[in-house]
Structures are given as C-alpha cells and as structure tokens.
Amino acid sequence: MLALNAHMQRRLVIVSFLIAPLSLLILFSIWPAIQLVWFSLTDWNGLSANKNFVGLQNYHTILIEDQALLKPLINSAYYFAGSVLQLSLATYFAVILNRKMPGSNLFRMLLFMPFVLNAVAVSIVFRDFLQIDGGLDALMHLVGLGVYTREWVQDPEIVKWSLVFASIWRYLGFQLLITYGALQAVPTDQYEAARIEGATEFQQFLYITLPTIAPILGLQLILATVGSLEVFEVPFLITGGANDTKTFIMATLEEAFEFRRVGLAAAMAVILLVFVMMVMIVQRTLFSKGERA
C-alpha cells in the first residue's frame, strides 16, 4: 500500500468502492428500465427467441383500441380519495397527540403498529375480518350496530371502500408519524403567545400549526397520489381482483406473467411510469416555487 502514490491510491479507492454498487445499479435498475421501453415496442410473449418490432402498436391498443385495459386505473380514484381522508385523519391525530395528553405515546404506538407487520399476514387477517359473519360483523353486533352490517367484500358497491379502509388501517400510523415529526418543528412559544392572546385551539391550529406543516402535507399528498397509482398488495391479497377491484399494477403483472403478453404489459408499465413522472414533475415545480417565495 505504501508503494502507491497518493494519486494512484485515490483512483484505486474510487474505482474499487464504486464498481459493485454501480454494476448492481446498472444491472437491476437502469438496464431493466431501458429493456422495459424496448419490450413495449415489441410483440414479445416472454418465451420465444424473437421479438418483433411493432412500433407504437401496444400503446395504440391500450389507449385507443382496448379501453378495458385502462379501466383498472379508475380504481386509483378510490385510493386517492382514501388517502386524502387518511391524511386528514393522520393530521388530526398527530395534532392532538402532540398536546402530550396522558397516554399519547401508547396511542401513537398502537396506531403505528400495523405498518411494521407482515403484508400477507395483515391482509389475511383483514380478509377474515371482513367476511360475512366475520370479525367486523361480530364486533358490530357486540356494540349494538348489528343492523348496519353489510357484505363488506361481496357487495361490489362496498368492496372498494372496504379495501380503502384496509389500506388506511395499514398506513395511517406511518403518515401520522411523519406529520408528528413535522409538528416538532413548530416553536412552542408561539402557542404560548397565542394562548395569552386568547386564541382558541382551532385558531392556533389554523394560524400556527397548519402553515408550518403545510410543505410536509403537500409532499405527502403528492406521495399519496403516486401511491394510489401503484396500489397492489392490499387488493391483490384481500380480493385477488374479484368484484372489479383490480388495480392497474395488478392488470400489468397479470398481462406479463399470466397471459404472457410481455410487450403489452411493458407498454402498460411505461404508461404508468409516465403518469408517476408527471406527478413528480408537478411536485418539483410546486416545491421550487414554494422555496423561492
């Protein structure tokens, strides 16, 4: 090692420390992304040796010919509505937990817990909980709400909201945690001053808390938008896509791995990617404006 001069050693350390992470990045992230675009321009079935270049045929099929392929995208609207509700609930709970009432830590921990549990486990638990005469029905009978029980998973009108509920159940605590973290940045002496001036708690929230956490809430809303485009685990594991609950990701994976239409699936993935990128770009422009102001 001593024989190497400083310049050589510098070059050696840069190359040897970067070779593994960069080859993994290229192999598992960049190369697949390039491949995805290339596949989307072919009629490949995933098995045969030859891929025929078909131009934009797959995109034409998805966007114009076969509208059924785009239909699952509508389900994202439910999850988006759900995530707006979830964000409001998370903010509400974060604000009241931030007042350090007795038991705050216990409640925060309980609400956060579902997020660290195995996705398959909680989905099976939920599937069981929502079935006819399942846990939810039994619980409602117990508290005298028995007449309001529904077929939570079988009724096509209700099942989407049941899945949204399952999704809120899982992710509420995580969002609560982030908002709670943002609340720590609000200086306490401002509340003190407001209280002396006679501001109500709601006024304190509106004029002190909200402006401080607004950027984090905005960021979370963007992430929620992206997230509602990418929903997969909750509906896949609870209903398997039955009753019109299939999401766009589920449809894409199905095309690729079951119907063996890799070219078409790749085009669907690219379309989703474009949507996500558009949301991200909106976020960047909104945020850079916020910083300048």
């Binding site: 510098r10 350390v13 840069i14 420390f17 970067l18 593994a20 992470p21 960069l22 990045l25 598992f28 992230s29 960049i30 697949p32 992304a33 995805l36 609930l89 509400y92 009241i96 937990l97 009432m101 038991g103 921990m109 309980l110 956060f112 817990m113 660290v116 195995n118 996705a119 486990a121 909680v122 069981d128 909980f129 005469d133 846990g135 939810l136 039994a138 619980l139 117990l142 509420l172 945690l177 982030i178 708690e201 960021l219 992430l223 992206v226 990418e230 997969f232 685990e233 594991l237 990701i249 894409t252 994976l253 690729a256 791995f257 699936a265 993935a269 989703l272 990617l273 996500v276 976020q283």
Partner: protein
Amino acid sequence: MSAIIDKPLVRTRVRRIAPGKLIWTCFHYAMLILASVLVVAPLVIAFLTSFKTPLEMMRGEKTDLPNDFSHFQNYLEFIERQPVGVAFWNTIFVTLVSLIIVTLIGTMAAYVINRFRFRGRRLILLAYVIVMAVPAITTQVSLYQVILGLGLVNSKWALIVLYSGADIVSLYIFITFLSAISQEIDESARIEGASYFQIYWKVILPLMTPAISTVVILRTIHIYNDFILPYLYTPRVEQSTVSMLLFKASDMMSSATEAILMAGIVIVITPTLVVFLVLQRQIVSGMMRGAVKG
C-alpha cells in the same frame, strides 16, 4: 395593583373555558380510542381464533374468548403441515446477507461519492436520483427477465441481490449522514499516514454506526414484510420468506382450517411485535429519517 387585577381575570378565564375544553378533550379521547380499537380488533380476533377448536369455530361468535388458551393444536398443525422452519431460516438468511451487502457497498459508495470529487461523479448522482424516482414495481416486467437470465428465479439469491442491489434509499441515508461528519477527521487521519482504505475502515465506518443501525432497522422490517419480490421471484416456499409461507398456506386452506391459518399468522407476526415493542424508539426515529427522502 396589576397583581390584584390579574388574579381574578385568570380565575374567570379558567372557569369559562374549562367546560368546553373538557368536552373537546373527551371527544379527542373518544376518537383515539375508536381508532385504536379498530386497529387492534382484527389482530385480537385473529389471536383469539388461533386458540379455538373446530367446534368453537362452528358454534361461537368471532368475538367470543376461546375456552382454553393452552389449546395449541392449531399451532402444532400449522407447523406440521407447512414448511415453517425453512421459511424462517430463509428469511433470516436473506435478511442477514442483504444487510451485510447493503451496509458494505452502501457505505463504500457513500464514502467515495461524498468525500471525493472525480470525473463522472455528477453523472452517478444524477443516475441515482432518476432511479430513485422510478417506482420499482413498474420495472418488474423487465427485471424478471434479468433475474431469469442470471438463472436466479426460484432462488433466494434473487431476493438477496434485489434487496441489496436495488436499494437506493439506504445509500441516500448514508450520504446524508456522512455529509454531516466533518472532513477534518479524514484529513487528520491522512496526515498521520493512513491510506484511504484505512480511513474508510477505521474512521468512517465506525462513525457511521447510527446511520447503519437506521438502515438495518428499515431494511429488516421491509424484507420481513415484503410480498411482491418473493411472490414474483421465489414462488416456491422452499426458497422463499415467511410472506410466501402465509400466501401459500392461505391458498391451500379453507374455512374449515381457518383457525390453523390464524395460528400461522400469529407465528409470523409475533417476532415483529416483540422487536417493535423493544426497539420502538429506534424504529420510529429510523422511519422518520428514512421517510423524508424526497
């Protein structure tokens, strides 16, 4: 003078506000309790179910307590029927090997990217930023072909390379942490004659312990709970993690064996719950650090 006026004022204000505030406090508590009950209820019911006999399952309500909390028949049957040991061993193996790889290559890359200025550095950073913006789930269609080409489909090494190789959030955490450590520490070590490798190994790596523990916590939770990668790349439980164990078990089991499945779920969830209760503080702060990556 002012003291005489102040005192009654404070008292009347307390009296006037107190009833309204009390109602609100009650309302907040009611909401918190409602939310907590809704969060805990499905899990508690699953737990109760796992101790029930077939007869109790048929006759009773879901919310009934089981007759006998030492009725472990469902647990024994789940362990007997399903490859529980293999799935747990695979999970531990995949998690440990991935963590070692992530920590080593992540800190190495962070060290070089943060401490050296070289040609191509901006390009590498740009590549990482772009790749981080691409949702991993969209590229699975083509990533599958890469894994297939490497002959890793149905091998736990597929999970290991993907959990460690395609993880950019960890690198981001390492770089952020390292940029807060003063360069003077490196420079003084350099003056004392340490090589760059020695600086990395003896100075940087030990200093990064807090960031490493954050990454270890975040990655362990992710790997233990993830479903999509095991589902796509290791469909056979023999090579897969606990997620696939439960997925396969739920596929095979009917309503008659529901209690056995719930026992399996308790088996999978319990280690996480124990770790969560013990490391609650670290998990929460780690999550916060990892989440605000945008």
